[in-house]
């Protein structure tokens, strides 16, 4: 058990810190939360800066255009960029954390060459078209049909909760290619251009008032069969590669950020007198231990994935369960610190309180995560 970093890793940290200090002041002003084209441009500009400096796709293998760094260096990168207040992965999330890794793992050399460089440069934005109105937790029940017509698929159906659909260039799309097969066996993974004829995007308003996800209607959309990743009807396995990545290191920066928010909450409470409330004080003290432990759990999972060959294991579900709950508690505590100020929707802590509500739902609900932990880690029998 070793928490120290090697001299090379510390050197990596020092160079990264210096670079961040130089380039962050050059970033343009942050766009408004509702200015989606502006947000896309901003996130793309940041990704381009990372690319030019050799920090894009850090943990991707070199033959996929990545830097092939160790998991520890990747962790340092996520920690340092957060500490420096660098932008989040933002609109590049699906490309860098879902679609990209899937193409790295399962794509042909031509597919890698076509899609990976623009993801790493921030030139192309991806979205994830998995969920459907009748297929959420039970994702394998999806019904969007893809019918083969020569060397193209003709796709009809609808997707829902598609984050960033409005600004995306590509969609990693799950479709049913064999309606007769058992539900997990008739699914394929396709890359679909969002500007293809027959694609209609209708934004949905979240409870936070923003329009970050959308419904996507597909009416006889034609996609070349060459843009299928993995074998036909093997999309469920291909997808599980993606989902495992989603639960890996996606939240590292946020854990660092949560500890910083906690420090700010304590100081605010000291200044506004709420600190005299022992119940609130103790709550903040408890959350401090919580987020320290979550940081250690991240390091634990990263170390475990190294011995398992890079793939994040079921430890990701343990982390997601604990973290999504802790994040909600953090912002509930923030509301207590703010008192009536928590009714001001423009306050960042209030906006974050609202968005935290999605954490126990998105990327597999807490109930589904508990099923995974119980069945895959603890080996309890499957049931109804």
């Amino acid at each position: 058990m070793d928490l120290t970093y090697t001299p090379e890793e510390e050197d990596f940290r020092a160079r990264l810190r210096q670079w961040l200090g130089e380039v962050l002041p050059l970033l343009p002003a942050k766009p408004a939360a509702t200015d989606w084209p502006g947000r896309r441009a901003y996130d793309a500009a940041w990704q381009r800066m990372l690319y030019d400096a050799g920090y894009a796709g850090l943990h991707w293998p070199r033959d996929a255009g990545g830097q092939g760094v160790t998991p520890a260096q990747h962790l340092i990168f996520l920690e340092e960029t957060e500490l420096a207040g660098a932008p989040y992965v933002g609109a590049n999330f699906v490309g860098l954390l879902h679609a990209g890794p899937t193409i790295v793992a399962e794509g042909t050399p031509e597919q890698r060459a076509r899609w990976l460089p623009p993801i790493l440069r921030g030139d192309e934005i991806w979205c994830q078209g998995f969920s459907e109105p009748d297929a959420g937790s039970d994702l394998a029940a999806l019904r969007t049909r893809a019918v083969r017509d020569g060397d193209t698929y003709v796709i009809s159906g609808s997707k829902i909760w598609t984050s960033h659909a409005e600004i995306a260039d590509w969609c990693e799309l799950l479709v049913r290619t064999d309606p007769e097969a058992p539900k997990h066996r008739g699914i394929s993974w396709l890359a679909m251009p969002m500007d293809a004829p027959g694609v209609t995007v209708r934004p949905l308003r979240t409870l936070a008032g923003s329009a970050e996800f959308a419904e996507v209607f597909l009416d006889e959309v034609r996609v070349p069969a060459a843009d299928r990743v993995g074998a036909e009807n093997d999309g469920w396995r291909v997808t599980n590669v993606t989902l495992a990545f989603e639960r890996g290191t996606a939240f590292v920066g946020e854990v660092v950020a949560c500890r910083r928010v906690l420090g700010a909450l304590a100081r605010t409470a000291r200044d506004n007198g709420r600190w005299d409330d022992a119940v609130l004080r103790r709550r903040l003290g408890r959350l401090s231990a919580e987020f320290t432990a979550l940081w250690r759990l991240t390091q634990w999972n990263v170390s475990a994935s190294r011995s398992a060959g890079g793939a994040p294991g079921a430890g990701g579900s343990v982390f997601k369960l604990r973290y999504s709950h802790a994040r909600q508690e953090l912002y509930d505590a923030a509301a207590e610190v703010l008192g009536a100020g928590a009714l001001d929707a423009d306050h960042t802590w209030v906006a974050d309180r609202l968005s935290a509500l999605s954490y126990t739902i998105a990327a597999g609900t807490s109930q589904i995560q508990r099923n995974i932990v119980a069945e895959r880690i603890l080996g309890l029998p499957k049931g109804r």
Partner: protein, 350 residues
């Protein structure tokens, strides 16, 4: 950075688990419930196996390992519910002759005084009838300001308290006046020390002793929390109702999943604290491990149904020990206040 235990560390843990399974299996555990007098022969075997001398330098006959290894071994004692003043003997092995080998058994009590100078609470003594000596640490509880200082770096002995120096004293057990009472944990007889003696002073770093006592106690809590997950899962697989194993019902599955999440989160906190030795991490780890041990035992009891409420099942033994340990070397309330003060003083850095 590789946070996973190294091969030698895994081997050490497995060795401890095997030794305890062979020497303190279920029969011995249940016999100890009826008669909690410590088994001196077992104690000497533990001494021979290096349980107490684990961290002493090899030059003086120790094993020469560190706090992380001690934590792995103590986790196993928690799993096995091994009774006795293990924490005291591990921490005092280098200071009191005969403890390292298991010849002598010492107790450790913390006579913390509150900020006003009076006693902060009853001074507890585990296994008073089995101890040859009692080591008492005394001195004012660290004030919030000095805790802030201690958190920032290594605490020195003189730093704690409001100008008073925390000290440790050793006393022959027979001379210490005590008031035994019915311990909630049948495996751990308890007494209140009614008059804390101040005989021969012992040169040791009291803040560090308290920190390590909290950490080793947390490691035992972790072992118990992990064990009750196993017990609940095993029972959920074998017990059937409505024609199916109860483990196929989602309500039971989700209880078990939450238990694992608690244990694994506590594990990371405890292991990390054993590596950094940082006061803030030890405090948080103890709090999370206490919570995991107590609530995993509670949920394990629920999974066992009526069987869980019996004297016969071992579940209550885990719960009662977890309650006892949660009272020792820093309660949740203390920890929350200390960590809150640290947030104001140091901000929310990692």
């Amino acid at each position: 950075m590789d946070f996973q235990p190294a091969d030698e560390q895994r081997a050490l843990r497995d060795g401890a688990r095997e030794l305890l399974a062979a020497r303190f299996g279920r029969d011995r555990l249940r016999a100890a419930v009826d008669d909690p007098t410590l088994d001196r022969a077992l104690w000497r075997e533990l001494g021979d196996a290096g349980f107490f001398a684990l961290r002493l330098p090899e030059a003086v006959g120790g094993v020469g390992l560190g706090l992380p290894e001690a934590v792995l071994v103590f986790e196993e004692t928690g799993r096995a519910l091994l009774p006795g003043p293990l924490v005291a003997c591990q921490l005092l092995a280098g200071l009191v002759d005969g403890v390292a080998t298991g010849e002598k058994i010492v107790g450790l009590c913390d006579a913390v005084t509150g900020p006003g100078g009076g006693a902060a609470g009853p001074v507890l003594w585990e296994h008073p009838a089995d101890c040859d000596e009692l080591i008492s640490v005394q001195g004012a509880e660290a004030s919030v300001e000095s805790v802030g200082g201690a958190l920032a770096g290594e605490a020195s002995v003189a730093e704690t308290g409001r100008g008073r120096v925390a000290m440790a004293y050793r006393s022959v057990a027979a001379r210490v006046s005590r008031a035994p009472f019915a311990s909630v944990d049948p495996l751990t007889p308890l007494a209140r020390v009614t008059d804390v003696p101040c005989t021969a002073p012992l040169a040791l770093d009291v803040p560090r002793l308290r920190r390590e006592a909290a950490l080793l106690t947390a490691a035992q809590q972790l072992g118990s929390a992990a064990r009750t997950v196993d017990m609940a899962v095993a029972y959920a697989r074998e017990r059937a109702q409505f024609g199916a194993p109860i483990g196929s019902f989602q309500a039971i599955k989700h209880l078990c999943a939450q238990m694992l999440v608690r244990a694994e989160t506590a594990r990371c906190a405890v292991y990390a604290a054993s590596i950094t030795g940082c006061a803030r991490e030890v405090t948080g780890a103890k709090m999370l491990a206490d919570h995991a041990a107590v609530w995993n035992a509670r949920d394990c009891l629920q999974v066992h149904g009526g069987m869980g409420f019996t004297w016969e099942a071992d579940v209550h033994l885990h719960l009662k020990r977890a309650w006892l340990r949660a009272e020792r070397w820093g309660t949740a309330c203390d920890a929350e206040e200390v960590l809150a003060a640290d947030l104001v003083a140091c901000g929310g850095g990692l």
